[in-house]
């Protein structure tokens, strides 16, 4: 297992290198640079900006720029944000917890809802409740997250005033106290629901269909034939089989959540990686943009690996050792 994981990780390196070339090329091809907007005639002058460009190495030959960037990059030096004037790594470290928290909450909500609804609908297919769940799911699949987000803010934050509409925490609570975490949860709930809606819908649907399909399998008949109670058949025999593909989705979720966070965070002004990414594009903050793009790509690779590993772990048929 460990050996396999290590080899998988090694196998990512060439792919990441290729991606880095693409990312770098794209950054190079982007019009404008971070110093274009920084005109402040009373405080600076064109020479200062030109000097900054020179310092940032933007006038060096392309290959030199790439070489410098990638060498630093693999050493963990992602450069300094031209906008925030701080280490990109520190900047990401600052935003990351928020996004992680959002992602994990959203995942938890997704899984809880999907399991509850999916199992119920799968056990009682073609009933009114199943149809209702199906209807909700279709809506969840169809309503784009930004529409859902805008509606959610409109109703739950403004009309009903149940949830805050922005931010990640109430500044007035003491760090680390119970209220603090409560406040974070309170803030993250709405975006997490919106972010998780799509996943919830597809998981529920998947689980339902898989349960229905599984319940027609021969081994279920076998279990019945030996006198296993119905509840045990669903909760053990069928569920265990349906969970396997679902668990492996977890790997892919990492990716979905991160890119989903871009839109959701923008709508809820939730200061995380997604907002940072959009910001970095708008302000041509190349070090941040390139690092994040690389990070997202890495996460895709990583997510796929996790999916494969999980699959190997949970499915006895293809257990890897």
């Amino acid at each position: 297992m460990l050996k396999y994981t290590l080899r998988r990780i090694l196998g990512m390196i060439p792919m990441l290198l290729l991606i880095s070339i693409v990312v770098f090329t794209l950054a190079l091809a982007m019009p404008g640079d971070p110093f274009g907007g920084e005109i402040d005639p009373n405080n600076t002058d064109p020479e200062y900006i030109e000097q900054k460009r020179e310092e940032a190495g933007l006038n060096d030959p392309v290959l030199v720029q790439y070489g410098r960037w990638i060498t630093n990059f693999v050493q963990g030096d992602f450069g300094e944000s031209t906008r925030y004037k701080m280490e990109v790594s520190a900047l990401i470290a600052e935003k990351m917890p928020n996004t992680l928290f959002l992602g994990i909450t959203s995942l938890v909500i997704t899984y809880i809802l999907a399991f509850a609804m999916g199992m119920y609908a799968g056990r009682k297919p073609y009933t009114a409740a199943d149809n209702l769940i199906g209807g909700i799911n279709y809506l969840g699949l169809a309503v784009p997250s930004y529409i859902a987000g805008v509606f959610a803010i409109y109703f739950f934050a403004f009309q009903l005033d149940w949830f805050p509409f922005s931010g990640s925490v109430d500044i007035q609570v003491e760090n680390g106290t119970f209220e603090y975490y409560l406040s974070r949860l309170h803030h993250v709930f709405l975006p997490a629901i919106v972010l998780g809606a799509l996943g919830t819908a597809s998981y529920t649907q998947f689980l339902r269909n898989d349960i229905i399909e599984s319940s027609r399998k021969d081994y279920v008949r076998t279990a019945r034939a030996k006198g296993t109670p119905e509840s045990k058949i669903y909760n053990k025999h069928i569920l265990r089989n349906s969970i396997i593909p679902l668990i492996t989705f977890l790997g892919f979720d990492i990716v979905t959540l991160i890119s989903g966070a871009i839109i959701t965070e923008a709508i809820f002004t939730y200061p995380g990686i997604g907002m940072l990414f959009l910001d970095s594009i708008n302000t041509r903050d190349y070090p941040v943009m390139m690092t994040l793009t690389m990070m997202f790509s890495f996460l895709v690779l990583f997510g796929n690996m996790i999916a494969d590993l999980l699959y190997g772990i949970v499915d006895p048929r293809i257990r890897v050792d």
Binding site: Y4, R7, R8, D308, V320
Partner: protein, 341 residues
């Protein structure tokens, strides 16, 4: 039963079972499947599906190939038709070595040997109408042939295999298993081949239907001067169909002989066990069953020496070390067992 097609039209030789001309000669044929290991998909080993098979097939004769599931029967059949590439050995068809043929030359050759498949459901394209299925081989080789002519030929074939005319515009799923197998046979016949390899053509069928197909195959052999390589796992069916029978075990032919010889005087312990295991529909007859222990070993790492020694009731020590050759112990009776002389 009338000849609906004029058989002489395609075959100059009026072959009969007495014709001793060799049509197919297979020598030391080996086909290995690579085993891809782990997620890195590297070849970590080989499934030795066919591991040194040799036999000859005379024109007009039927050779039956029996063996348990996974012993390499289909692989052997497909390799001979060059649907798979042999790992080693030689396939000589009608005096020509076809082992190394490729591309168009192979395609040209294909006209002469055809296959009937096991699964009447999976071997017909569900998206094609029966007419298209049967005319496709003709269109492939005679692209300039007129549509009308082709259609006439197909209609003849339909009639010949006992399908109604309106089958032409129907889809395979509208037919029963036996009828589908007839469609498959018609397709194989369309190019008027010399050799037909029938890969378990009846094992997916009910007994009542199975006999229809067997009868049909028998009739067609006479009418079209066909040579059959008949693959099955059911000994009684093979015996019914064949002139000679080869018994396969784990990629090897362990015994090959005339069908009555095989039935009456099996020499290889495996053949003996196989024959004794076939249940006979006669409640009065008491026969002694030789029940073999265990299952067929995996062809991925076959036992050393004689492949059968792990299950053989008569095995002696040297069976695990000496790999027996297929020897002709009597005229026309070949056995691969060191205990047999």
């Amino acid at each position: 039963m009338n000849n609906v097609l004029d058989a002489t039209q395609t075959h100059e030789t009026t072959s009969s079972k007495t014709n001793q001309e060799t049509l197919l000669k297979v020598s030391n044929l080996k086909t290995y499947y690579p085993v891809k290991g782990g997620f890195f998909k590297r070849t970590v080993g080989h499934v030795k599906a066919v591991d040194g098979v040799s036999f000859e097939l005379k024109k007009g004769e039927t050779l039956g190939l029996v063996g348990e599931s996974g012993c390499g029967k289909s692989t052997a059949g497909r390799t001979i038709l060059r649907l798979l590439n042999p790992t080693d050995g030689e396939i000589n068809f009608d005096g020509e070595d076809i082992t190394k043929l490729r591309g168009n030359r192979l395609r040209e050759k294909r006209k002469d040997f055809q296959m009937v498949f096991q699964d009447p459901y999976a071997s017909l394209n569900p998206m094609q109408m029966v007419g298209d299925i049967i005319s496709e081989p003709i269109k492939n080789y005679y692209p300039r042939k007129k549509k009308k002519e082709i259609k006439a030929e197909v209609m003849e074939l339909l009639k010949r295999v006992g399908l109604p005319d309106d089958a032409y515009t129907k889809y395979a799923h509208e037919f029963s298993g036996g009828q589908r197998q007839r469609i498959g046979i018609a397709r194989a016949l369309a190019l008027k081949p010399k050799l037909i390899i029938a890969d378990e053509p009846v094992s997916a069928l009910d007994v009542s239907v199975q006999s229809q197909v067997l009868n049909l195959l028998n009739e067609l052999q006479d009418d079209f001067d066909l040579t059959y390589l008949f693959i099955a796992h059911d000994l009684s069916v093979v015996k019914h169909m064949s002139d000679r029978i080869g018994i396969m075990y784990l990629g090897h032919i362990v015994e090959i002989a005339d069908k009555n010889t095989i039935y009456k005087e099996p020499l290889h312990p495996y053949t003996q066990a196989l024959i004794s295991a076939v249940p006979e529909p006669d409640p009065r007859r008491k026969k002694e069953r030789i029940v073999l222990e265990g299952d067929v070993p995996s062809p991925e790492n076959p036992p050393s020496g004689c492949p059968f020694h792990t299950r053989c009731p008569m095995a002696v020590d040297k069976c695990s070390t000496i790999k027996p050759e297929l020897k002709e112990v009597r005229s026309g009776h070949h056995v691969a067992c060191i205990l047999v002389d």
